[in-house]
């Protein structure tokens, strides 16, 4: 479904991706994890065709999205849904207008059908009754839900989530993850979730891709990832899970501990 081959990308001489290769099967949802600045969102934007790689290919259903342009690129994108980190709702439109926008502009769907589909989608994400509110009048969690409804309204085959829980409190974050899981079970899309929600996201994904130093350092099932003996994975998990360092918190360790040993 999605195949990334030897992807390289740098910005002003700073190399972010150094040969990323990854394959995501149809109907599978993967979590893309790693430290901040490791290029997770950059990789996701390459899959969506929003960025062009310096080298490498991104194949979506066998078509290279990286080298596509114009109508051909739009045709590929019509199969994609993208949940942006900040929601990216249009400020000047209400929640209803935002969700209806892709249907109104991209399809020849009738007014009544658009209304029905938008209301159904808003109900699915738990936003019934908020149709007439503007993005500035609703909470961060509701913005994410509205953005999710907008991304899903076109029935995409592939859903890309860029940090869907960032900026939300743990309970709302969990509800968004549960919502993604429920929708995936209903629609069966192929999904990529860029997230820092480790290990909570592991409950809803099939595989985990761990990005480190511009490459996919580990790509395996969540259980395997959690029991990995690789020091880099253990260090990342220790940081994410808040597990205590075997030698105690860094603040209280003597500075010359290494030398003494």
């Amino acid at each position: 479904m999605i195949r990334i081959e030897d992807l390289h990308k740098s910005f002003n001489g700073n190399t972010v991706l150094k040969g990323v290769s990854l394959e995501i099967r149809e109907g599978e949802v993967i979590a893309l994890i790693g430290g901040s600045g490791e290029g997770k969102s950059v990789l996701l934007k390459h899959v969506a065709g929003l960025m062009k790689p310096d080298r490498g290919r991104v194949l979506v259903n066998g078509n290279d999205i990286a080298s596509s342009r114009g109508g051909y690129l739009n045709a590929l994108r019509s199969k994609l849904g993208f949940l942006f980190q900040g929601g990216a709702l249009f400020d000047s439109m209400t929640v209803f207008e935002n969700v209806a926008f892709p249907l109104k502009e991209r399809t020849r769907t009738g007014r009544k059908e658009i209304r029905d589909r938008v209301l159904k989608e808003l109900s699915n994400v738990g936003l019934s009754g908020s149709e007439d509110k503007f993005p500035s009048q609703i909470s961060g969690g509701m913005v994410k839900r509205a953005a999710l409804a907008r991304a899903l309204v076109g029935n995409p085959e592939i859903m890309l989530f860029d940090e869907p829980t960032t900026g939300l409190d743990p309970l709302i974050g969990l509800s968004i993850l549960k919502l993604i899981d429920a929708i995936h079970k209903g629609l069966g899309f192929t999904g990529v979730i860029v997230t820092h929600e480790v290990p909570r996201v592991f409950d809803i994904v099939d595989r985990v891709a761990f990005l480190k130093e511009g490459k996919v350092f580990a790509y395996c099932e969540p259980e395997e990832f959690m029991t990995s003996t690789k020091p880099e994975v253990k260090e990342f998990l220790a940081g994410s899970l808040g597990r205590p360092h075997p030698e105690g918190p860094a603040l209280f360790r003597p500075c010359n501990m290494d030398e003494d040993e």
């Binding site: 929003l50 019509s78 942006f84 990216a88 400020d91 926008f101 502009e105």
Partner: protein, 271 residues
């Protein structure tokens, strides 16, 4: 001694390298800006055009600028009335106050001052709006929906500029001439027949067309610069609120300078 020479050579090489990089970057950005204009023209003439957005932008750029244009037009005409009368009366030519005000406003001050006022009022807002849409990924969202951001954000502004600027300039000219009339005729005693009679004798259709061409070109220029600066906010001016702030400042400064520079060339061409 040898190392001193080597150091001097290396320093010169570094200077040349930096200068080269600077020139290349400027050329690259000018190229991007040129391509932006070409794309905007292309999508403006190839349907579909988003008529509702065009009307909305005509309301924003044109209608909402009317009060500012009325005020600046009136006071510019009144200042011209005073200055023109005192200058002309030294040569005993105060009868020509009408043509002087008419020609100054229609050929020069009307288009230029209108363009500068629209840049300050609407151009800055256009840059800020598109810039915020860029940093909050709303433009990316448009692209992902398979929709062309030029059609939604750039073309409506271009067309609205082309419609609004000549109309606002016409309002500026009329109100300015009325302001000159208030000072010249009502305050300083020039005859009303002399004021308007001499004006209609000396101001021809060629002068009106010169003002029209200028205002049309300024309509394109303002929207070209302001839309471009907003569209490339996070790429050329930096991220976040600071990036939008820089883009807005640069848009207003560059538009204002280009209006005056372009006015010079237009005047030279149409003289």
């Amino acid at each position: 001694m040898t190392s001193d020479i080597e150091f001097g050579t290396l320093a010169r090489m570094e200077l040349i390298r930096r200068l080269g990089a600077f020139v290349l970057l400027r050329l690259y950005r000018m190229g991007v800006m040129g391509l932006f204009l070409v794309k905007a023209f292309f999508y403006a003439v190839v349907p579909p055009v988003k008529i509702r957005r065009v009307i909305k932008q005509v309301h924003f750029i044109g209608f909402q600028s009317t009060i500012v244009i009325l005020l600046t037009g009136c006071f510019s005409g009144m200042v011209l009335g005073f200055q023109g009368y005192y200058s002309l009366s030294r040569f005993g030519s105060d009868a020509f106050l009408g043509p002087m005000i008419g020609l100054s406003l229609i050929k020069e001050l009307g288009p230029v001052l209108t363009a500068l006022m629209v840049t300050g009022r609407a151009g800055s807002a256009i840059t800020a709006e598109i810039g915020i849409m860029r940093i909050s990924e709303q433009i990316d969202a448009l692209e992902l929906m398979g929709l062309n951001p030029y059609r939604y954000l750039v073309v409506p502004n271009f067309l609205a500029g082309l419609i609004s600027l000549p109309l606002l300039t016409a309002i500026f000219d009329v109100v300015g001439i009325f302001g000159g009339y208030l000072i010249g005729v009502k305050l300083l005693g020039v005859g009303v027949g002399t004021y308007f009679g001499e004006m209609s004798s000396y101001v021809g259709m060629k002068d009106v067309l010169e003002g029209l061409y200028k205002s049309l070109s300024f309509g394109i220029l303002i929207n070209w610069v302001c839309c471009y600066k907003g569209y490339y906010t996070s790429i050329f001016t930096g991220f976040g609120a600071e990036g939008v702030s820089k883009a807005t400042t640069q848009a207003v400064v560059l538009s204002s300078v280009l209006i005056l520079v372009w006015d010079y060339f237009m005047t030279g061409l149409l003289y």
